[in-house]
Amino acid sequence: MPVKYHIHTAPVPNRFPTVIRSGVIAWEEGCLKCPKCVKRECVYGVYDKRGLDSRLMSDSLDSLCKDCFRCVQNCPNRLIHKALNPDYKNLGDHYWTPEIISKLWFQAETGRIPVSGAGYGGPFSGSGFDAMWTDMSEIVRPTRDGILGREYISTQVDLGRKHQALEFDTLGNLLSPPYPSVEIPIPIIFDILPWSPPRDRINHTLLRAAKKINTFSIITQEDWHPSLQRYLNHIMLYLTGDPEGFDKEILKKLRLIEIPDGLKVLEIQKWLKGINPEAVIAVRIPLNPQAKDRALELTQSGLEILHFMADEFGRDQGEAPLFIKDRIKEVHLHLVKNGFRDQITLLAGGGVAMAEDLAKLIICGADAVTVDIPLLVALECRVCRRCAEGIPCPVNIAQIYPPRGQARIRNLIAGWYNQLLEVMGAMGIREARRLRGEMGRAMFFEDLEREIFLPLHKRN
């Protein structure tokens, strides 16, 4: 078997204090000075270790407390309380919730996947990706010795066009020459950030991370800078302006090039192929209700990668916006129905916030997924969007030191990779390529409600 893919991680502390869910309020007034103070009895030694948390640059009391409430319940004069932190509640928005942001921070900091005791405490389901569950198998064999064992789960995917079937002449010679193809070991590509402070250092950081985990980062034509030349193997260049004005020597060396959808898309593709026949060309298409027809049309015209983009909340551009997973499902099934699905690579992005979204979007039909905002969150972004309005970033992301930022993004992607393995392992699927479109191995809220809860009300 090929060499096993692995991302090495090491903890990378935050530069700024993280925003914590709750804090400790301990009154001094009225203290009885008990010889055996509850603060001394803290199991986690929170009060003994109290000080300026060097990691967070804040009072360590709040960050170390694990909410066991023993001091709250045992202080004779009830001087210790806990309270929710209003700043935490205000993080992000309805989609990029405080829980998502703080879990992304945790992964970027530690490189570990979020693990906890006791049962799941969240809502029954929700909108978007939360309206689906992935399957598990009681007796299918995932791997002989666990998901991280020798006989491992492959997350590699191929980007490019494929033949529906190989053709041979009467002598047995192959008549269908192979299309150029790019392999990535993990089905994640870094996308253009919807908003960010000045991107000079950020782009370097993203490309370093893309190189580290051996994938690609999409860089726009306007962001191109000769200093990025050393990352050519990991750049997916997005040609937004006039392609003919771009340095042909660079175009010749790129492996992935993206162009916007439009009337001249076939023409530009042909022109690019003329310069660099080995490059795989992707078309970036806004996700909308016509996506399925456009996908079929472009596939039939011989394109290689279709990259569908939803907005940052995962919504398409329809009048009553449909969520990305549902629209991609539609596109995938339309291509399947017409017999073209295996010829094209589908990329999808917009609103991918957690590792499970990655797995779910692939199950709904994407070959690989593009990720944007979580990369910024790994760099300590609070999703306040002040940068979009020109207000300075509270955590100064523009000044990130690229090696440090790289390590945080690497940690986050390592966490996502390991979680993808968990999901695939539970399903008994050992190939990310086979996860694509496996909707029979997922369960959808609407289907289950229709099947299970609606019949409850057929009263006689």
């Binding site: 309270a83 405490g121 029954f124 064999r141 809860f453």
Partner: protein, 546 residues
């Protein structure tokens, strides 16, 4: 007969001595297994079961956690009026002024309408009441602070809460929390509580094995030694014995301390086979074959190295301090035929045991159920994804496998269509928080339920989700740390769990009476007793929704 009497003694007093005697006596009169099965079947008459006594078991901590916080200000002249007014015992006398030491018993603002409302009656206007900020930090969408506090109250008193806490539903926005029981008009029964039977038969296959009946519709699920403390385990086991039901060992071996309760133990055979020996299988009346756990379906178990103490390591035949993995899946089971082979193996090892199969809730859970039945299982346990765990990836808990509220009706319907519904005992677990959840899941199609988290909450777990960190649970439940283990005494723990279930039994009898049902088995699969608020409006239904 002697054995029966002695077992009853052991049930009622939880005394290791009398139960030990029972085994000695039964050892003296060796009975052929078939005959014994026959006796076991007729001996345990649930109608004669005497429920354990409820006794007060107050919080181990100085103060209970209350929804409202009462403060008596400096202008109090210690007249003592509030002490006399409050019928709930919120106040205790103090040297300078009374103390509101039990404000978790307070009704809160709802008390305003009462004549004894202390805030209005205080001659010095010295009493203030505010929401307790700490209370807001507690709980989550499934186990809200209200549910936690009401469970603590039930564990302390054995009574249904009166304080206006929501003890019926959580805030998860779907499933249990959107389902309501429909109480039809003019059907309510007017009979004593004792006339409502809550018993559960575990063997419906009609084979020659014992028919075990429980006086209550549930047993307690597996928590291994290692993941929780020995005192927590023994509290659960003793409470199970007192209620005439069972408690599962989980996958971690069979501590010697449990031997006196052999007749109330389910031993677990899981993928790691930790602590599984011929002798442990032969010792019990039910053996549980665990395929998957709802909290981490398809992922196997993982005991972190910190918790593998000398004692844990000895029992699991492992190395101290090194993490233990229980792999997934059973590496010898890849088909129903393999599955049958394993069940046959257990049945041959212990000719009197019933076999339970615990599975998670995948898409094809209905097929799994049928497969298990034909492989020879007596009990099928569906473990939903809200179930407890010492440590599991959050991604698994949230996303993998379907919620229990879908799986149970799906399996119930399929088994009915296959004509085998009456031959299999269907147990639901993973996320049953209240007596109302019990009634709802039975109405959806389960025969009974299996519980775990509710016991933990009875022992004052507050779901901080840090079972796995450091020395383990700071509240002395999920830990093997010798000092933290001492935070719980067995007597206290046993009583707390007994009390919670005493309150649940009251809830269940109350529910059944209002439904006009005298035996809980008649509630199984009664979808007409349920309404889902997303699909039907209260005014469209005749009857009360609760």
């Amino acid at each position: 007969m002697l054995r029966y009497i002695l077992r009853q003694c052991s049930v009622l007093q939880c005394s290791p001595l009398s139960s030990g005697l029972a085994r000695l006596v039964s050892g003296l009169f060796t009975v052929p297994s078939q005959l014994m099965a026959f006796y076991e079947g007729i001996m345990f008459d649930v109608s004669q079961f005497i429920p354990p006594e409820v006794k007060p078991a107050p919080t181990r901590f100085r103060h209970g956690l209350s929804k409202f916080r009462i403060v008596i200000g400096k202008n109090c002249d210690n007249c003592g009026l509030c002490l006399n007014l409050c019928p709930f015992g919120v106040y205790q006398p103090g040297a300078k002024r009374p103390k509101a030491g039990k404000d978790f018993l307070c009704l809160g603002p709802a008390c305003q309408k009462n004549e004894f409302y202390c805030i209005a009656r205080c001659p010095k206007d010295a009493i203030t009441m505010n929401p307790n900020p700490s209370f807001e930090v507690l709980g989550d969408r499934r186990w809200t602070a209200d549910l936690l506090a009401s469970t603590w109250y039930m564990a302390e008193t054995g009574e249904i809460p009166y304080q206006g806490l929501n003890y019926k539903t959580g805030d998860s926005g779907g499933g249990f929390d959107k389902l309501r029981l429909v109480f039809p008009p003019n059907k309510a029964l007017d009979c004593p509580d004792e006339d409502i039977c809550l018993s559960l038969d575990l063997n419906r296959t009609g084979d020659e094995r014992p028919s075990i009946s429980l006086p209550i519709p549930f047993y307690l699920g597996g928590m291994s030694f290692g993941s929780v403390s020995i005192n927590a385990i023994l509290s659960r086991v003793r409470a199970a014995a007192a209620w005439g039901t069972f408690c599962c060992t989980g996958e971690g071996g069979y501590p010697d301390d449990l031997k006196p309760y052999d007749d109330h133990i389910i031993t677990q055979v899981a993928t790691g086979l930790f602590g599984v020996r011929e002798e442990t299988i032969q010792r019990v009346r039910i053996v549980e074959f665990k395929y998957a756990q709802g909290a981490k379906p398809g992922l196997g178990g993982h005991l972190l190295g910190d918790k593998v103490t000398t004692e844990v390591a000895r029992m699991r035949e492992a190395v101290v301090g090194s993490s233990l993995f229980s792999p997934f899946p059973f590496h010898s089971v890849y088909s129903v035929e393999d599955h049958k082979k394993h069940i046959d193996w257990i049945k041959a090892t212990n000719p009197r045991a019933l076999v339970s199969v615990k599975v998670s809730t995948p898409n094809d859970v209905d097929m799994v159920a049928v497969g298990s039945y034909f492989a020879g299982a007596h009990i099928l346990q569906l473990d939903g994804s809200y179930g407890g765990t010492g440590a599991a990836p959050d991604i698994a808990k949230k996303n993998i496998a379907m919620p229990l509220e879908y799986a149970v009706p799906k399996v119930h319907k399929f088994l009915k269509e296959e004509g085998i519904r009456d031959n299999l005992t269907l147990i639901a677990s993973g996320g049953i928080r209240t007596g109302y959840d019990v009634a709802k899941i039975i109405a959806l199609g389960a025969n009974g339920v299996c519980l775990g988290t509710a016991d933990m909450v009875a022992l004052e777990c507050l779901r901080c989700h840090n079972c796995e960190s450091g020395r383990g649970c700071a509240r002395g439940i999920a830990t093997t740390d010798p000092e933290l283990t001492q935070l719980i005494t067995q007597d206290w723990g046993t009583q707390r769990i007994i009390n919670v279930y005493a309150a649940w039994m009251k809830q269940l009898r109350f529910i059944l009476k209002r439904l006009g049902i005298t035996h809980i088995r008649d509630l199984v699969g009664r979808w007409d007793c349920l309404a889902h608020l997303d699909y039907i409006k209260a005014e469209e239904i005749e009857g009360e929704l609760e």
